[in-house]
Amino acid sequence: MKPKVAFYWCASCGGCEEAVVDLAEKVLDVVAAVDIVFWPVAMDFKRADVEAMPDGSIAAAFINGAIRTSEQEEMAKLLRRKAQLVIAFGACAQTGGVPGLANLYDRESLLKAVYSESPSTVNPEGTLPAQHYGTNGEALELPAFWERVRTLGQVIPVDYSIPGCPPTPKLLADAVAALLTGRLPEPGTVLAPDKALCEECPRRETKPEKLAIRQFRRPHEVLIETDKCLLAQGLLCLGPATRAGCEARCIEGNMPCTGCFGATSRVRDFGAKALSSIASLTGSNDEAEIIQILENIPDPAGTFYRYSLPAAPLPGKRLNGASAR
């Protein structure tokens, strides 16, 4: 009997599903080797089908996306019960991802921004999504939209993580191969190389021994040379702090690394470490000048915690008032 595999998505954009589809013809090898028993984006199985499966009957569940709603948490817990292994698939499940940046705002201001303040919103009656809603004598229930975004690992125990926004098809294929052969590493391992991106960067040879950045530039402000270290060109590249394994795809596309693969095993908090690494490269010892150079990084939280705010020691903006939840 073929091992059973499930895919699920939580607070995500669909890019991780794309990574599965990007296996292209290799997806046939996967399908030949495993039974996909649940995959909402591509196959018509329902929650009730999963509920009917015996506990532990799924070999591995690949869950992408962060956890923002009650439904996402329920599904994560359900799949945890049914699966022997749960793999946090992609940056959002692993460390919160881009949706995790919503933790810089409270729930009310998010709802206000989306449902009344955004310039393209037309909502004269000020309708907001309601968890409970009655109409024509029918009661409707929506999932609860919670105060905070959490990582998958903050909601259920996770056995392995595959990093990336999205992960590469190669990492997924390698993980499936490891599952099938039973050659699995220590639980808790991130299934990607444990070294910094700079180490496998195609422009590695052009990285200066000592970097001193006098001006941080954004990609649209400069004609980027294609064969020179991006930091040496003043672009804010997070390669020094980011885990390798992405095949340097952004660098190959002549764009700086934004850190989606997260930290290596020696680092606890990606954002603080990435900030440390970049700030140290500021090419001045004069305080006023340092401040001025660093002003070219207008949004440090969004830059360094782009993919990992909910996993950070301070997992979001502090809410005012001691009683705030």
Binding site: H132, I290, P315, A322, R325
Partner: protein
């Protein structure tokens, strides 16, 4: 609710005693604290000193972790510019401080809670002044509470 770690007066709310984690460099600020001690200078007992070899050793992860584990403020003390025992560790601290300060503001951490000061081995008096000042500023702000990943309250029924 403020933490009731301070003295309790009669019929008075307990005074909030802030906890401040102080990372002091081995060559300057830690010696200034030593000097303040041997000179019998009195200053607020609210700092918990962690001796590091250089202010440049203070990883921003330490600062975030301190706040996450209940510190109400973080103070970094290092050698004056040009005085670093390792030539430029204090400049690295300075560069990180300014970027981290701005990131902490985005997380709702008031600027008074995070401070970098150059205090040389002979400046015991200055150490006393900085600590006392910071303790009072943080006391006025109240306890630091990080955002918790609490599960939300069930939303009240609408209509």
């Amino acid at each position: 609710m403020p933490e009731a770690s301070g003295p309790v007066g009669q019929d008075q709310a307990p005074v909030f005693e802030p906890k401040i984690v102080a990372f002091f460099c081995n060559w300057c600020t830690y010696l200034a604290a030593d000097l303040a001690g041997t000179s019998r200078l009195r200053y607020a007992p609210n700092i918990r000193v962690v001796r590091v070899m250089c202010s440049g050793r203070v990883d921003p992860q330490f600062v975030l972790e301190a706040f996450a584990q209940g510190a109400d403020g973080v103070l970094i003390g290092g050698c004056h510019p040009n005085d670093c025992h390792y030539q430029e560790g204090n400049y690295k601290a300075l560069r990180r401080y300014h970027l981290l300060r701005r990131m902490l503001e985005q997380m709702g951490v008031e600027p008074e809670r995070f401070r970098l000061e150059w205090i040389s081995a002979s400046e015991g008096e200055r150490l006393r002044h900085v600590v006392n000042e910071m303790v009072e500023q943080v006391r006025a702000l109240g306890p630091f509470r990080k955002c918790e990943q609490t599960e939300p309250v069930e939303e009240a029924a609408v209509r």
